[in-house]
């Protein structure tokens, strides 16, 4: 779960990492009231979970109340990479002396957390060679290590102690809140030598959410995603018109690639995992049925953990109850697959021996319409 900037900053604040004074506004009315408390000028920052909002013009300076009236509404309606903001943060401007980059991220191949720091703040960290990468133990960062990093970044003497404390606190955010990433870009040294996190990018480990009740309020799912999550499905909405359902993330991704290679356009990715029964496939079809753009469903099942005959019963039930109004192209193999085929015989679900045949049929059908 990627937190919005203001949510990340709330966490930072809890752990003693200083942030600029700011107010979240979800409506123009909120913004008007907020502006009086905060005082002009300030910055308007769209609250999004996608990157690149600066380049997209979703961060704007605001010098007075007439600018607020136009810019606030403009930002609230502005989509970035297909996403509308969930509020606009009004944030006080500060006198920046120096900007740095600092993050702690999950280093997957090394199976530990690593610090990345750069004396150039506000940059795209992937695009610069001017950076320090330091692997750290899950047990903690020593003061000595934090000091060395501060020296390597040329942090001025007066700000060094603040930096060391901030780094230790950022590590606490990662461990205590179970983040995969906690990034401050930029981290500003301001005119009074203190350090302020001007931005916050925090990604929380979804699998750890069950033991962090305080973070669950940040979970933001569409109705469809909620419905999918409730059933234990992995669901991603895509842009095309073919829904792809299967058992196992890898298999569904693989099917998605093959559909794309065959000039089909996938409109939904749904992995119902290992615990599929007639009820779970039925629920999966119910999720898909709420997407009017879907014109056909491709089911790719590799049996084994899954009882494919139960899946077939679920499909039949969905037709019977008019949940399903589009054709199903299915490839079902593995445990009980012969029985599944018999069950589906005569329904609007067509069965194929290979996924390639099923894909060719569904793409032909969609593209001939």
């Amino acid at each position: 779960m990627r937190l919005l900037e203001y949510q990340g900053k709330e966490l930072f604040n809890q752990f003693g990492i200083k942030i600029p004074e700011s107010i979240l506004a979800e409506s123009l009315e909120d913004a008007r009231i907020g502006s009086q408390k905060l005082g002009f000028p300030f910055v308007l920052k769209s609250q999004l979970t996608v990157g690149g909002r600066g380049k997209a013009g979703a961060i704007q300076k605001c010098k007075d109340s007439s600018e607020l009236e136009t810019k606030f509404i403009e930002l609230l309606k502005k989509e970035v990479k297909g996403e509308l903001p969930r509020g606009i943060l009004l944030e006080k401007m500060v006198d920046i002396v120096k900007e740095i980059y600092l993050s702690i991220f999950l280093n997957r191949s090394k199976r530990c957390f690593s610090i990345i720091a750069s004396s150039e703040g506000g940059i795209d960290i992937e695009q610069t060679d001017n950076k320090i990468i330091q692997d750290i133990s899950i047990d903690g960062i020593s003061g000595e290590l934090a000091n060395t990093i501060a020296s390597n970044l040329n942090i001025p003497v007066k700000s060094k102690e603040s930096f060391v404390n901030l780094l230790l606190n950022l590590f606490r955010v990662v461990v205590e809140k179970e983040a995969e990433l906690a990034e401050i870009n930029p981290l500003a040294i301001i005119s009074d030598d203190s350090l302020l996190a001007l931005d916050a990018k925090v990604i929380i480990d979804d699998n750890a959410l069950f033991r962090h009740e305080d973070l669950q309020k940040y979970l933001y799912l569409s109705d469809l995603e909620k419905q999918a999550a409730k059933n234990g499905f992995s669901f991603v909405e895509l842009e095309g018109d073919i829904a792809i359902i299967g058992n196992g993330a890898g298999l569904v991704m693989s099917t998605l690639d093959m559909v794309t290679d065959a000039n089909g356009k996938a409109g939904a990715f749904l992995d119902f995992g290992g615990k599929a029964t007639s009820e779970t496939i039925y629920e999966a079809l119910k999720v898909i049925s709420r997407l009017p753009k879907i014109k056909a469903i491709l089911v790719n099942l590799y049996g084994g953990i899954v009882r494919t005959d139960l899946v077939a019963l679920g499909i039949l039930e969905a037709y019977k109850n008019n949940i399903l109004t589009v054709p199903v192209y299915a490839r079902i193999s593995g445990a009980q697959s012969e029985k599944a085929k018999e069950l589906l015989n005569g329904s609007r679900a067509r069965l194929f021996d290979t996924v390639e045949e099923a894909i060719n049929a569904v793409v032909l059908k969609i593209n001939s319409n």
Partner: protein, 305 residues
């Protein structure tokens, strides 16, 4: 990383052993719905499951297998060093720690949704104890026609000289099915796991079979997310890995910054993208199949060279 770890010796032993190919295995979470179903399937495949652990159910039996309250008792009664862990994710850390504290040398970690920090802690602890974890979020490990510790179905796998390593469960079955159909049986099938943290990653796994004469080729089934394939490609080049390798990567057409089912299958920028992986494999002369069906075709070409 200990390179001495011999997974074949642990799983099937030496030919001179009285229990060759019948090494004892314990199952933690044996009475749960998942653990119980798969205990039966593993036993019918040939796995010598000698004990189960479920706190509070000690003294009972499941499918003729004695159940104990603790790993300590199960290990004492059976002498096993292999544990298949089937407990739900929130209980995984405690179960795995208990296993490592009581002499288990190979953990097969089945549960999905284990928190990352728990995985890192168990990985570090296993290193300290000279033990190895496969998974979490893995279908497990199979020596076809001999034994399996995991949840994979039996039918896709046949005995042979190819090894399959996979970050995805169902794709491991699918690819092995196509390999078997084309006459490429498998010496070993091992699920790396779909999580960001893998107890045995691709490089660790390649090390397991590096100098084995009964393995003539490797198939590596990957997916988007992380840099395991990139690191592997680098390792193949730098260490002059001599066995022919063919790869498959799922998720070429997935959108960025979306988690595609597996916790580990997510692309940030270029990090974790299929392009990055395919480009790196090209440098290591590893061909990448476009579909699971193409894997044996590429393997055949590769083995002819």
């Amino acid at each position: 990383m200990s390179t001495q770890f011999d997974i074949f010796r642990i799983l099937s032993g030496n030919e001179s052993d009285s229990d060759y190919e019948k090494k004892p295995v314990i199952i933690q979470g044996i009475t749960g719905s998942f653990g119980s179903t798969h205990t039966k399937l593993m036993r019918s495949y040939g796995t010598n499951i000698v004990a189960g652990v479920t706190p509070g159910k000690g003294g009972s039996k499941f499918d003729d297998v004695p159940v104990f309250n603790t790993v300590e008792e199960a290990v004492k009664a059976s002498g096993s060093v292999i544990s298949g862990i089937f407990v739900p994710a929130p209980f995984f850390y405690k179960a795995a720690k208990e296993a490592l504290d009581n002499g288990i040398k190979l953990i097969v970690a089945i549960p999905e949704h284990v928190p990352i920090i728990d995985s890192i802690k168990i990985y570090e602890y296993a290193q300290k104890k000279g033990a190895r974890m496969i998974g979490p979020n893995t279908p497990g490990v199979i020596i076809p026609e001999i034994m399996k510790v995991g949840i994979m179905p039996a039918q896709p796998f046949t005995k042979g000289k190819t090894v399959v390593f996979s970050r995805s469960g169902t794709l491991m079955y699918e690819v092995s099915f196509h390999l078997s159909n084309s006459g490429f049986g498998q010496r070993l099938g091992l699920g790396i796991g779909g999580d960001p943290i893998n107890g045995s990653n691709l490089i660790d796994s390649f090390e397991l079979i590096r100098s084995r004469e009964d393995v003539d080729s490797v198939v590596v089934v990957g997916e988007i997310g992380g840099d395991a394939e990139e690191q592997l490609a680098d390792y193949i080049v730098k260490t002059n890995y001599s066995k022919p390798v063919v790869a498959y990567i799922a998720g070429r057409s997935a959108p960025k910054e979306k988690r595609m089912g597996h916790a580990g299958a997510i692309v940030y920028g270029n990090y974790g993208s299929a392009d990055s992986k395919i480009n790196n494999y090209a440098k290591a002369n590893v061909p990448v199949a476009k579909s699971p069906r193409e894997v044996p075709l590429l393997l055949r070409t590769k083995l002819r060279k």
